[in-house]
Chain length 707, copies 2
């Protein structure tokens, strides 16, 4: 586990300042806070939707222009010598390289946290691990621009992962009423400036992101629960739901205006998979679906394995900034070339029909025909996915699909984790839809005479593949149901997802968990490892413990803060001599409370020393707000100037520490520790003996070690 | 708060016997338990589905026969003098009375816990409150039969509440591998015999019940979370999901066979609301929906208020068994008479058309016409609901709908809470659909020329009304989406539900919460009351505390168990003299552990006394199983025979107590206590001073007092 990651403070500290503040509050204040919460939820939803609108319109316009030009230059070559194709190919490569270059430069030099999909980091954040720079304003900007770049650059990526990350940042941003990056503080919503409150808004932002991306408000809520929540809180869930609802609503309204049908709200989200026609399925199809699910689980496991190896390789060898940018550029160039090769060598020519896709590309085909593979490649991935789900039987030759799926699988796997914003949902779905359609064609061949819609198999394949890669079930089921509007097909989708997950889990973890493991994040799983009751607090705790007395000398505090990196310290009684009856060898005084590094630093900065000449003035000016003002970027101990004289002063910690932290006994079994930690979102847990004397301390890292 | 209710033990006791057992277990055992869990989940799902199938087929057959006969006798009268109608009316009344009489006798005399919908009780159970006889086998039987009776008796009730209760009992039953009522013990699944494990299966059963009732697997999972869960556990959620999936699957398979289309799985659940046609809606309709939502919230609040008054009246005045039965009989007779009056005085005659409902009743109408109100009444409520959602515009006169909705509202309100199984979902939906359709007709009149489908308004009305009564949002949204198959309409449904809930909550609590409050159940809400930080453990705890020494005299134990009804006792060190330094006035010894009444009684029954002649044999024979064997009906202290000699013996409690319970300090603020209690499902929480000496104890009742 890496030491780079600190935890978030999800457990509020009820010290005397907090209690004083609360005692002055009225129910009117509680109501105002509730109202503010609902309003902020609305704003988050609306804001995420607006960003989604902006992204989708921009990407649409640019892609249309780019692929339109490409279509033209390629079609100009049809019928002529094949070396005429060099110029179009060059243009294609260029059209891919330019945006991805911009995107990756931004990511590498401005906001590295904006790279990748962000799902793994969102999961960590909601779990209680602080990811550096993850919810900054500049990360948001880079993510948005980078996402547009990677999408218009034709990479094998999707929008949903980045949308989730964007949602998280918007949630964390709007709820604070300030931006440290922009040095603005609106002096509103100050009550929400704590990790506990922020988490709620981030959950909502995540849900709104998914809701806007897939037009799936319920799916969004479930995803934010499945990946993040630990304590299911009904009133929070409603707010999250409201937020994701708003997001869909606003998105639909604006996209309706953009599409020239203002007022029509029946649109779907960013990624419109199109309503599937009334789909019935029969009992004998279930085994076929199951087989496909197994296939999805296996290929998903392979995907994750390859990506794992690749990421290891990246960590070791691609460490320079320019190398990272070069890799992205290389990927985008290769993507174009692979596409070209596919078109050149496969060149699946289809007769123009009424039911043919809207924008076809002739390429190397004769007049009156179009190249189905080129048509698939000359548009965004979502549109290809949609075509695969809805096109008539016979639109694609099996060979086309077969070569496409292999190429796209490798490209997607390579792209995932490179230094540019990228989502894995759409690539996963597209890969699955392709081989699913292939399966559908196979079933058609085996059962001639039965009317079979290959689009149905494409949907199952898509579910199987994505399920095999990301290993979510409940939220993904609902998202797919909502994105395709096919309730009747919900049951097979779910079964497929569950089986794909089982099969995949047999081999390795889901894609995001693989990345989390690679980052060595101290993530707490849902449940303690089985058969871990023989481990007790005594054997997993850290020992000795750095403690402070309730009245501690400033010098000691400063020295210890300089010496160790710990963020929490037990506060112990000062008067007590060590009890002679104590049956534990080393104790560190009688437990009185818990104080955080950030609190100590604030106290030092404000010079709340007993011997300070103006101590009464300082004390009177101290409120919970003094501590909140430095949130979320607490100063470091190095920023605190303490004179030698002050070092000899003392400080009263009792009024500022958490006087009633949860404590456990030495013989507490591991599962019990784990449940306490996980369910209540703790950061430090002090272990006491049966005289309430501190004997050890536990943090997330001590628990996450055991898997 | 009533003393009648005891808590469930959701917090496992990790005593030395437990640790010994676990240390002997291998990973193979863990895997076997996991596999068993999945299998049990499958069985629960399948079993619930089979029961649902049985009920729906039985009710269908009986209702068809009953209403067919009624249709015939009524139609025979058409055209003749109106006193010819006396005989049909008599038959109708009789046809209602007979089944409801049977049902209510069963409920009143055999299993009172089977009355009502069971939703409130399920909520309590999942919250951690033991409801007497709630998950017994005989309750299951009575619930099934009673439900068939109330449905065929033509009462204004639905199937979903009882299905949820049935699911809960099936979950609790199958997972135990034994039935105390039937005196059978299969000696399997013994690991699942604890409240903690049982709760998981009950959650799954609840989800399966909803899934089978509405064909809504996702909705089922969400409902079981929304009403029950506190700690969202991913692996449990998957299992619950699997269970509800199985339930839908099996239900569909069997109903497919029953309907002569074996293998077709695209059916919906028990309550088939029918797929709504592709429904688009426009921006200007949103305000109308909002108004309807407000209406739903208001009428829902009125419904709950009336039902609250009625229930109070019942508690006071209808206390005799025969009176309870008579009330049910009266309701069923009045239901028939009201129906008759509606038909007679409203008599909405419609021309027979192609689009007319399948089974029409002519009644007092001329030939070639049918009475739309009679058609509505002469079928089960679900079918009427379905017709209201799907019938052509113009099928019903506004007056018909208006009178029907008033009558049905009052009847449903009266029926709710009487001594027969009854669900409130379908009545709620039906009432809402009726006035919703009325609104739709109103809109049609106001906006002539615009094509408006009143069925759409009926759906919104249904959502508004049900939301206003039961005040669930997320699960209800998903259930309605799944039951009608209309994703596109999800957004307005959600908005409607949220607004209806807001409006309703302004006046009173949801229906189930009203009943819970009336039962005076110590339910723990989702969140601590606002501004409760000034309450600390010291001020809410019970004091003095009954404690036992780690080595305690048998006489003392027996006496205390006889004297008090408490279920948990702190165990304290025996050697300690009271610390002279202690700064709290009354302490009761140094905290060592927590022991439950049931454990003490088992120890007394097995005579684990230090002075017993064969104590070594007894100790060797003792295992965690000795304690589990008496689960779930622990003997009372009165069943324990202790001789005078034995009273002077002593007992070692240390190996059997929970040696590492969660404890809190005296100054712990209420919200912190509450969160600990709620998130971890505690039953007792010991309060200690800062020398770890017991000063007080807290139970659910101490916390639930503050709302
Ligand atoms: N006050 C302390 N005294 C002694 N050891 C400590 C103390 N605080 C933490 N530790 C131990 O140091 C190790 C690393 O600490 P860690 O970085 O997890 O703590 P932290 O920085 O306080 O919390 P976090 O990193 O989760 O924000 C852990 O094993 C932990 O048990
Ligand atoms: N061992 C005890 N000594 C003194 N008071 C107790 C003890 N146990 C419980 N109480 C108090 O008695 C009151 C009623 O107890 P209650 O019936 O809630 O406890 P219980 O029966 O042990 O638990 P439950 O009823 O939740 O199963 C509560 O206020 C509680 O604090
Ligand atoms: Mg640290
Ligand atoms: Mg009690």
């Amino acid at each position: 586990l890496s030491d780079r990651f600190e935890s978030l403070d999800y457990d509020p500290c009820e010290n005397s300042l907090f209690l004083k503040e609360e005692s002055q509050q009225t129910f009117a204040h509680v109501n105002r806070m509730q109202t503010e919460k609902w309003i902020v939820m609305f704003l988050i939803g609306a804001c995420v939707a607006l960003i989604a609108n902006g992204v989708v319109v921009t990407v649409d316009k640019i892609s249309e222009w780019k692929y339109g030009r490409l279509r033209d230059v390629f079609d100009a070559c049809s019928g002529t010598a094949s070396d005429c194709l060099v110029q179009p190919l060059g243009l294609w490569v260029l059209g891919n390289i330019i945006p991805t270059l911009i995107g990756s430069i931004l990511v590498v030099y401005v906001a590295p946290a904006a790279g990748g999909s962000g799902m793994a980091q969102v999961k960590c954040f909601l779990n209680g691990v602080k990811i550096p720079e993850f919810v900054r304003f500049k990360t948001l900007l880079v993510k948005i621009i980078g996402m547009i770049c990677s999408l218009t650059g034709g990479l094998a990526v999707g929008k949903e992962g980045p949308m989730i990350h964007i949602g998280a940042i918007v949630g964390a941003g709007i709820s604070q009423g300030q931006s440290t990056t922009c040095r603005t503080d609106l002096h509103i919503l100050e009550d929400f400036r704590s990790d506990t409150e922020k988490r709620d808004f981030v959950s909502a932002g995540v849900a709104a992101g998914i809701a806007a991306a897939f037009g799936a408000p319920v799916g969004g809520v479930l995803l934010s629960l499945e990946e993040g929540a630990s304590f299911w809180n009904q009133s929070l869930t409603w707010k999250v739901f409201f937020c994701s609802l708003t997001s869909v609503f606003v998105y639909n309204m604006i996209i309706g205006i953009y599409q020239g049908q203002p007022g029509d709200l029946s649109n779907s989200g960013l990624i419109n998979l199109g309503a599937m026609a009334d789909m019935t399925y029969l009992l004998y199809e279930i085994p076929i679906f199951l087989l496909m699910a197994v296939g999805g689980g296996l290929t998903g496991a392979i995907f994750n394995f390859l990506n794992f190896q690749l990421t290891m390789f990246r960590h070791k060898h691609i460490t320079r900034n320019w190398a990272r940018i070069m890799e992205v550029v290389l990927i985008s160039a290769v993507t174009a070339c692979v596409g070209f090769l596919l078109i050149y060598y496969v060149g699946d020519c289809q007769m123009m029909r009424d039911t043919s896709p809207q924008r076809t590309v002739q390429m190397l085909c004769s007049d009156g025909e179009y190249s189905s593979i080129a048509t698939m490649l000359f548009q965004t991935s979502e549109k290809s996915l949609r075509d695969l789900l809805h096109d008539e039987p016979g639109t694609y030759k099996p060979l086309t699909l077969g070569t496409f799926v292999v190429a796209y699988f490798l490209l997607a796997c390579w792209t995932c984790g490179s230094w540019i914003p990228s989502g894995q949902f759409i690539p996963g779905l597209l890969i699955g839809a392709t081989w699913g359609r292939l399966c559908g064609i196979g079933v058609m061949l085996m059962l001639p005479g039965v009317a079979i819609d290959p689009g149905r198999y494409a949907l199952i394949g898509a579910a199987a593949q994505l399920g095999g890669i990301v290993r979510m079930t409940i939220s993904l089921t609902v998202i797919l149901i909502e994105a395709t509007g096919s309730i009747a097909f919900g049951l097979p989708i779910m079964i497929t997802l569950i089986v794909a997950q089982w099969v995949g889990n047999w081999f390795n973890a889901g894609l995001f968990d693989v990345h989390i493991k690679l980052l060595r994040v101290p993530l707490l799983e849902w449940e303690p490892p089985p058969l871990s009751s023989h481990l007790v607090a005594r054997s997993v705790m850290s020992h000795p413990v750095y403690t402070f007395k309730t009245t501690e000398s400033v010098g000691t505090i400063v020295d210890i803060l300089h010496k160790v990196t710990h963020n929490g310290f037990a506060v112990v009684s000062d008067g007590d001599i060590r009890s002679p009856l104590s049956d534990t060898p080393d104790t560190f005084g009688r437990m009185r409370g818990l104080i955080l590094r950030s609190q100590l630093i604030t106290l030092l900065q404000l010079k709340v020393f007993n011997e300070s000449p103006d101590i009464d003035v300082i004390r009177a000016g101290l409120s919970i707000r003094s501590f909140r003002d430095t949130y979320p970027r607490y100063p470091s101990i190095k920023d605190v100037a303490i004179t030698d004289q002050e070092r000899r002063y003392t400080m009263d910690l009792a009024p500022y520490m958490n006087p009633s932290p949860y404590v456990v006994y030495m013989n507490t079994p591991f599962p019990r520790l784990f449940k306490l930690f996980r369910a209540l979102g703790l950061r430090h847990l002090v272990v006491v003996d049966n005289r309430n004397q501190v004997v050890g301390i536990l943090t997330r890292k001590d628990l996450a070690k055991f898997r």
